[in-house]
């Protein structure tokens, strides 16, 4: 995490252009700019600036947006609900679809069911999220008019509307993720199904479903959980694009707007926040191993 903070700080430090000049505006004299530079501590040496920045970061201060002059934490806070809703829905849908797909493919390995699942998986890897998003919008929103085209409806204004606005974005964003998890589930299940204890369980006459779920899936859970955690990186990258296509007012939109306006503190804050979330989720995944496999101790 320290390395992440350092890299993210370096990004801002290496920023071309002078933030003070941007802040001061067109009518500023060089004296004005110098005063702002001093106030922001822009002339201090690298290690001092890094220290100060870390200190403020530790107090939950991500700096101030150059363009809107609002604290970055506040901007992120305003936009977090759509992003959380989108990623959470995608996560739930993907896991619920992908794990059964992978299990079925492994149980029927070599048959057309298996091949179909693998074909879906390769296809899912290959279609960029925004292409899929537009195909979905065109089919379900414009042609069939089943679902809203774009936009977001906050959850406190009704769960049904909220869900209707999130169905297509979640499917679009989840496809890559489903492909990834289904593939890993199948591989892990194939490994486990070749084990002796699975044969023993079958031999003593347990129902096939019970062997598959109770014995095999439980032992395949660790690699599956790992790939779910690592795949969050795909979700985060994809969420930025998905929010742009579906006009969801989330952190992805904030990022894209910040890029277009070169508002570096926001970009920095978003990268830091997403990376922290990613690291924490993967830590949680690591800890979940103990639940799936009691032999693992930390």
């Amino acid at each position: 995490m320290a390395v992440v903070a350092f890299v993210v700080f370096l990004l801002l430090y290496l920023t071309p252009g002078d933030p003070a000049a941007i802040l001061a505006g067109d009518a500023a004299t060089s004296d004005d700019i110098r005063r702002i530079r001093e106030k922001l501590g822009l002339d201090d040496p690298f290690h001092e600036r890094f220290g100060q920045w870390l200190w403020r970061l530790a107090h939950g201060d991500l700096g101030t947006s150059i363009f809107t002059n609002l604290p970055v934490t506040q901007l992120i806070g305003q936009r977090i609900e759509p992003t959380l809703s989108l990623t959470f829905c995608t996560l739930v849908i993907s896991v619920l679809v992908a794990v059964p797909l992978g299990v079925v493919a492994a149980a029927r390995a070599g048959t057309w069911v298996d091949r179909a699942v693998m074909a879906i998986s390769v296809g899912g890897f290959s279609i960029p999220v925004f292409v899929l998003a537009y195909v979905l919008i065109y089919t379900f929103s414009i042609e069939l008019e089943w679902l809203p085209v774009q936009g977001y409806s906050p959850i406190r204004e009704g769960v049904v509307q909220w869900a209707r606005h999130l169905v297509l974005p979640s499917i679009a964003l989840g496809t890559v993720y489903i492909a990834l998890i289904a593939r890993m589930t199948r591989a892990a299940m194939l490994d486990v199904l070749a084990q002796d204890y699975v044969r023993t369980a079958q031999a003593k006459g347990l129902a096939p479903g019970e062997v598959l779920i109770g014995h095999a899936l439980k032992n395949a859970a660790v690699p599956i959980a790992t790939v779910i955690g690592i795949g969050i990186a795909l979700l985060i990258g994809g969420a930025i694009v998905t929010e742009t296509v579906f006009a969801l007012p989330g952190i992805g939109r904030l990022t894209v707007d910040a890029i277009l306006r070169r508002d570096y503190p926001i970009i920095q804050g978003v990268v830091l926040m997403f990376s922290a979330a990613y690291v924490l989720i993967n830590l949680a995944v690591d800890l979940s191993y103990m639940f799936f496999d009691p032999r693992i101790r930390y």
Binding site: M1, V3, I236, G237, T244, T255, Q268
Partner: protein, 292 residues
């Protein structure tokens, strides 16, 4: 004398024989290779494929639906989308192949060194862990936000985002290989380090690295499209597939072909690269093929 009369087949190394057999068993890989080859040909032959200048603006012919004159329609500046898509193949393929090449090369170098020189390992892997905890697309976006939009910078940004994964793969393989008896034997025989790495370790890494390179290539093409799509990629005047789709974003209701055609091309190319990668993996590593 009798032995000479026997029909001794020409010695074929087992790896290559398996390779050809596996390719025969995986027609999808061949389809992938053919599609990719076709795309590369399209990219090279772009000026002779019935295209006009992809930048030529014709305000009178704005937003024409696909027809005999404009095979894929025209955009809001009257530029021919077919020509732009054909020329866009150059951008996507260049970026995909360049990123695959550079990140493989850099990843291989760093991975070999960290896997073999223990004291460097701790330092470099911390840095790589740090880079890897930033989601790759996000890292590329952040890097692009800092620099001027150009092809070189896009390649550089995506390479930086993709390399840590290559490093980890190579390092993992080297850590296993260095314990092999033949490496110990080479060390005992007094072989110098560069020779050990080059002759005993490297050949065993090539196959998985090649497979990884195809996935990096596929991922780089998608990342480029994402970057261009959100306005942080190749400069808007270059007709890359991502840029064409970015322009189509605001016109989706009027001109969905602006997204449809480059989208199909991008998906097809990425699919081809992925199929090729899967086929290569099955062919080069039968043990892994059973698992994945």
């Amino acid at each position: 004398m009798a032995a000479a009369a026997l029909d001794i087949p020409k010695p074929v190394s087992p790896t290559w024989r398996n390779f050809r057999e596996a390719l025969r068993r995986h027609p999808t890989a061949i389809i992938g290779a053919l599609v990719l080859l076709a795309m590369i040909l399209v990219a090279i032959l772009a000026p002779w494929l019935g295209t006009v200048d992809p930048q030529a603006v014709a305000p009178v012919k704005r937003l024409k639906q696909p027809s005999g004159d404009f095979w894929f329609g025209s955009d809001m500046m009257g530029r021919d989308v077919y020509s732009r898509v054909v020329y866009g193949a150059r951008v996507s393929l260049t970026i995909g192949l360049a990123v695959a090449f550079f990140s493989t090369l850099v990843g291989l170098a760093i991975g070999l060194v960290t896997g073999y020189i223990r004291w460097l390992d701790a330092i470099i892997m911390r840095v790589m862990d740090g880079l890897m905890s930033i989601p790759p697309v996000l890292l590329a976006i952040a890097l692009m936000a800092l620099t001027k939009a150009s092809m070189q910078n896009v390649i550089l940004a995506i390479t930086l985002a993709e390399t840590p994964r290559v490093v980890r793969l190579v390092r993992g393989l080297v850590l296993v290989l260095r314990e092999e008896p033949y490496v110990t034997a080479a060390v005992a025989a007094g072989t110098r380090l560069p020779l050990i790495l080059g002759r005993h370790v490297l050949p065993n890494i090539v196959a998985p690295l090649l497979v990884q390179a195809t996935y990096v290539c596929a991922s780089a093409m998608i990342t480029e499209a994402i970057l261009s799509f959100i306005g942080a990629g190749t400069p808007p005047n270059i007709p890359s597939w991502g840029n064409i789709m970015a322009e189509g974003r605001s016109m989706f209701g009027l001109a969905n072909y602006l997204i449809l055609f480059p989208g199909i091309c991008l998906s097809l190319t990425v699919l081809a690269v992925n199929l090729l990668g899967d086929g290569l993996r099955d062919a080069l590593d039968p043990r892994l093929a059973r698992r994945m």
